[in-house]
């Protein structure tokens, strides 16, 4: 492995990579052609484009260093053909109903919001070096106490504050065990999840019994944008979005800026990568990690508040239903970067929204579409993203010298 052998090979693969992505793009176009607003009613152009993408993909795949990308592009090209056929087989009206983009975006955002909050929390915690499997439980705490607070104080604001406090408190338990007592963080996070399911379920029954939460609770309001409401696509997509969705979207650049553009963010990342080195230069490893884990719990809980008091207006047993884990997946998918995680959360959200709408095509097959977001993610992670590297010290307890 001498450098003289490695160097000449560098030029060609870069070109192949671009070619691979171009093929993947072609595959996407092959399908998009048959969707509104273009809505081509014959599958022929899509078949040609799909085959072309597959061909280019195969060529790229012959380069050993881009085998995965090539194979993925070729696969996408081949998938695009039946997809396009499926669209052209349906009536134009049906396709229009399903692919009403503004509605897809609006409902995609509601699916994505809890994931955005959860993923941002996960990123902060893991960047400081503490794995947070407990996001699910912290989110669930936000769900219950968000509703409970809104009920007893008759204002959603108190609900949100109480929800965040409860999530933060549960995060503190995780922090104490994983930082102070040097517990296995995965184990402690799992415990916190179980605790949250039991605790919220217990309180829910003790407080509300069989009747469930009252139907008329003060909910987190939607933001009605005055001008945008009348613009064609944007009005339906963003005109009446929930306040917490905006907060979540706003937090993404804020967290990114904090992590990568402030001194405190740099210190946090240093502690997550090399705690010993960070400690040597005088940073407070334990204290920073406590703050990071608590903040992550507060964020996840805010996602929970959105779920219960923003979207549903009620609480039910274990209502997070695995969303905390999906948020965790978004963290890994997004490579521990807020914008990456946002992309992952939006991918989940939009494909979930689409999956539910695709049930218009076929009630039976519609259920199968619900598996689509997860299958897409699996393929994307395996084919295009590959390895993502967590912060070096995440999951490892820090022992003070």
């Amino acid at each position: 492995m001498t450098l003289s052998v490695e160097r000449p090979r560098l030029a060609a693969p870069a070109e192949h990579r671009r070619l691979g992505y171009a093929a993947a793009g072609l595959a996407a176009i092959a399908w998009i052609l048959t969707l509104p607003p273009i809505l081509v009613r014959t599958p022929l152009p899509s078949i040609v484009l799909g085959l072309l993408a597959a061909l280019v993909g195969v060529v790229v795949a012959t380069d050993p260093s881009h085998r995965r990308l090539g194979a993925c592009a070729a696969g996408l090209g081949l998938i695009a053909i039946p997809l396009a056929l499926a669209m052209t087989n349906q009536t134009a009206a049906n396709v229009r109903i399903v692919f009403t983009w503004s509605a897809v975006v609006a409902s995609g955002l509601t699916f994505a919001t809890p994931l955005i909050f959860g993923a941002l929390g996960g990123i902060i915690s893991e960047r400081s070096g503490v794995v947070n499997i407990g996001l699910e439980g912290m989110m669930l705490m936000g769900c219950y106490f968000g509703i409970f607070g809104a009920d007893i104080a008759h204002t959603w604001l108190i609900g949100a504050v109480l929800g965040m406090a409860a999530g933060g408190l549960l995060a503190l338990v995780h922090a104490y065990f994983s930082i102070h007592l040097r517990a296995n963080q995965v184990v402690s996070g799992t415990a916190v999840n179980l605790l949250a399911v039991g605790l919220t379920g217990y309180l829910f029954i003790a407080q509300y019994g069989d009747n469930g939460t009252p139907g008329t609770l003060p909910q987190v309001p939607n933001v009605n944008l005055p001008v945008v409401t009348h613009v064609v696509f944007f009005g339906d997509a963003f005109g009446h979005t929930n306040l917490l969705t905006w907060v979540g979207l706003l937090l993404v650049p804020v967290v990114w800026w904090f992590l990568f553009r402030t001194r405190a963010g740099l210190r946090l990342r240093a502690i997550g990568e090399q705690p010993l080195a960070a400690s040597t230069v005088g940073l407070r490893v334990m204290a920073t990690r406590y703050v990071a884990v608590t903040v992550s719990g507060v964020f996840a809980a805010l996602g929970g508040v959105y779920l219960s008091d923003g979207f549903d207006g009620s609480f039910n047993f274990n209502m997070t239903d695995g969303r905390g884990f999906i948020a965790l997946a978004a963290v890994i998918f997004g490579k521990w970067n807020p914008f990456g995680a946002l992309g992952a959360a939006l991918l989940f959200g939009l494909s979930s929204a689409l999956a539910y709408r695709l049930q218009t095509f076929s009630q039976t097959l519609g259920t199968l579409f619900l598996a689509l977001p997860y299958a897409l993610t699996l393929i994307a992670v395996a084919g295009l993203i590959g390895r993502s590297r967590p912060p070096a010290a995440s999951g490892i307890p820090y022992v003070k010298e």
Partner: protein, 413 residues
């Protein structure tokens, strides 16, 4: 000398979980107390609900009949928990976190109910073996996807198993829903599978076969635990798995294929989870409804079982028995509702389970309460590198990162 050390270690290995459980029960008792109930009578009623009072000779008459029934339910509940616990524990030993036991259990159940219902006149022994094998293989195949992705592509198994869980649930829902390909042929409109035929029923060894008696599934679980122990401690594969779990880099240096260990381990995990589904479907469930798919938490509880059992075979069996007993003792059917609301009690079970897992996550009890030296490593499950990253050039990356950070730190601080 050596044997005495081993006995002492085994004693502590037993003592710490016991103290943990007792502490969790005390904490749970306070929850009961604060919500205005009597913890002692509550725990008494839960104990009776588990059926463990069957072991007392002075319990006679109808009380004994009820106790026997409850104890059967405890063992029925423990059967799949042992297997999903083993599934999670096996992965932990190689340093992988198998959140996917639930999905492997789901696909295993689909196979078991399908094979169990399509051959009406088969030899019972053959039919049962075939259905169990199909469930185990399907579970293995499903888990192997995650293992293969981790080994070849490097996809984090936490991510892939979460995705595979959901894919399994939705695909199974599609199969059994009204109009789905595997929906019941006799109950049109109901989102349920076909009922498995009598030749595929596991023989019931204790209790009434019509009232969820205890089937031979419990022996399948126990045999699996023995197999777990034998593979882990008495085979080359187990040695490699433990080596990789301890340090992937060192194992690689010693010539062990880490990728192969990951893939094989996950497939074996899937066998355990698939067997869990087989014992449920062929033992008492006989039919799967789409509602069962999302309500079932057996795979997730397996995580807690494995952690309480410290990822050992015997520990997992004991932890599954405890969790199975708690689940049964607080169920609506077994708990005396005059003493304590069973719905509250089921939630109390989750709280106690959570506390137990929280307390076993650290050396807390060993060090602070029992005064044992911290270095025993008993308080911590043998996971070591549960969320290990397995990047080949890890050291180089870390070094580069350190250099970069130090440069920035000098500028920034």
């Amino acid at each position: 000398m050596r044997s005495r050390t081993r006995i002492a270690r085994a004693g502590r290995g037993l003592l710490i979980p016991l103290v943990t459980v007792v502490l969790a029960f005390i904490a749970g008792g306070f929850v009961v107390l604060f919500t205005g109930h009597d913890p002692f009578s509550t725990y008494g009623a839960i104990f009776d609900g588990t059926g463990l009072n069957w072991l007392f000779p002075w319990v006679t008459g109808t009380a004994r009949t009820t106790a026997a029934f409850n104890l059967q339910q405890t063992l029925v509940a423990a059967t799949p928990l042992i297997l999903t616990g083993l599934s999670v524990a096996f992965a932990f030993r190689v340093g992988l976190f198998n959140i996917g036991a639930q999905g492997q259990y789901t696909v295993g159940g689909v196979m078991a109910v399908w094979i169990g219902s399509i051959f009406p006149n088969m030899n019972p022994v053959l039919h049962i073996v075939l259905a169990i094998a199909a469930a185990a293989l399907m579970g293995a195949a499903w888990a192997a996807i995650a293992g293969w992705l981790r080994a070849v592509v490097g996809t984090h198994e936490v991510l892939s198993t979460i995705m595979l869980n959901w894919i399994a649930i939705w695909v199974a829902t599609y199969l059994f829903q009204a109009g789905g390909p595997l929906q019941s042929t006799t109950e049109a409109g109901n989102p349920v599978s076909n009922t498995i035929v009598p030749s595929a029923h596991l023989p019931v060894i204790w209790g009434n076969p019509l009232l969820q008696g205890l089937s031979i599934g419990i022996f399948i679980s126990l045999a699996a635990a023995v197999a777990f122990w034998a593979i882990m401690n008495r085979s080359t594969l187990g040695y490699e798995i433990r080596a990789v779990g301890h340090s992937p880099d060192a194992a690689r240096g010693a010539g062990i294929s880490v990728a192969r260990s990951y893939a094989v381990t996950m497939a074996i995990c899937g066998v355990f989870a698939g067997l869990a589904a087989a014992t449920d479907v062929l033992g008492w469930e006989f039919q799967i409804s789409t509602g069962d798919l999302t309500i079932s938490q057996v795979g997730f509880l397996g995580i807690a079982v494995a952690l309480l059992g410290r990822n050992t075979a015997i520990g997992t069996v004991a932890a599954a028995l405890l969790f199975g007993a708690l689940e049964t003792g607080t169920s609506v059917r077994a708990l005396n509702s005059n003493v304590f609301n069973p719905e509250l009690a089921s939630q109390l079970t989750l709280i106690i389970e959570g506390l137990v897992v929280l307390l076993v996550s650290t050396d807390l009890i060993a060090v602070r309460i029992l005064g044992l030296p911290a270095k025993l490593g008993l308080g911590r499950p043998r996971a070591g590198t549960a969320l290990d990253r397995g990047v080949p050039d890890e050291a180089a990356t870390a070094a580069a990162v350190t250099e970069g950070l130090e440069g920035k730190l000098e500028q920034g601080v």
